[in-house]
Amino acid sequence: MTEPDDIDGLAAEYVLGTLDAGERAAVAARRQREVALDAAIVSWESRLAALSDVVPPIAPPSGLFSKIEARLHAVSSVGISHAAAVVALTRRLNSWRVAAITASSIAAALLVAFGATQFAPKPKGKNLVAVLQKDAQSPAFLVSVNVDDRVMTVRPVSAKHEAGKSYELWIIHESLGKPKSLGVVDDAAPTRAPTLAAYKPDVLEASTYAVTLEPEGGSPSGDPTGPIVFSGKMIEATGY
């Protein structure tokens, strides 16, 4: 483990790129709240930046920009309407908590909220939404997937920040064997991850999605190590 006072050495190695996955994730998380570490990283980025001149430029494949545009279009049209819906949803949470409502009625309410934002262009393809929750009164994360683009957005609704821990999202389906990680999800801001390319649409639709509480930066082993704190299933979102 790194000596606590060697922030500069840690920042230098982070920027150089030689830390392993766990150390990198830990530094990325620490810099969010440690100003000194963040400043050291920014300094090192600037110090070493000229080294990337050594790497020869290579033109990317010609069709790549249109794929990026398609991805941005899919995400912004879905994302904006979701964002508006989540704001409305979060405002309503208190009244939701006191009302004993079922998971399906939360999902239905979400779709009504999404349906209300009709000014957003209709996204192409099939969209799935899952409300991840501990019980019917406490939706914690909202996972939405555009099946065609395999782009996933995870929005925190009421997940509490746990010091020194990270929330990690898993996809669980019998065809996959063990639960497969979809990455660490932020408890304060939306996480957008096009990490679903490996999964077939019918698997995405039929899977259970679960969030575990893991050591900061995510499970060190690649398998879930903490308890499942929230889970849910996908439903098709046709209302937006």
Binding site: A21, L48, A49, L51, S52, V55, I68
Partner: protein, 181 residues
Amino acid sequence: MTTVGELSNLLLRVAERDAAAFKVVYGATSSKLYGIILRILRRRDVADEVLQEVYVKIWDRASDFNPAIASPITWMATIARNRAIDEVRRKRPESFEDHPEIVDVPADDPSALSILMRGEDGRRLADCLSRLDDGKRQMVVLAYCDGLSRDELAAQYGQPVNTIKTWLRRSLAQLKGCLSS
């Protein structure tokens, strides 16, 4: 060729959701970023995917860009390197030996570095790199450009991982000292 000032202005427009500016930014920078990403990942299919994610991130985070802190290309290259290294640390897709032809960084030749590295900052960094021992300089360049981890460097140099860590930290401290003198 897009100047630093032009690129900064374009990014400020991207922050205001200007799709035309974004397209110009892509045209001006994608070869540089793709080169960086492909060098680290060594697989075109993975690099194609990562490049898309990087530009989505550039679009999303353009409002974070601050020309007072970093040049536009440094800001974008940092996003690309971070994403590529995160990807390669999850699982190195191919062994180092599969593509020896692309591991041709002129790390052994300080004069080549000083030719390639542009601008005042580049000249100073090349000069400071030239003061490191040959092996240490090569290690720093391989780590930065090719994305080698401590473990991979340890295998490459036939040294224990802790020795590599010590060498890296000392070399980086020496570089910092040289650059600030």
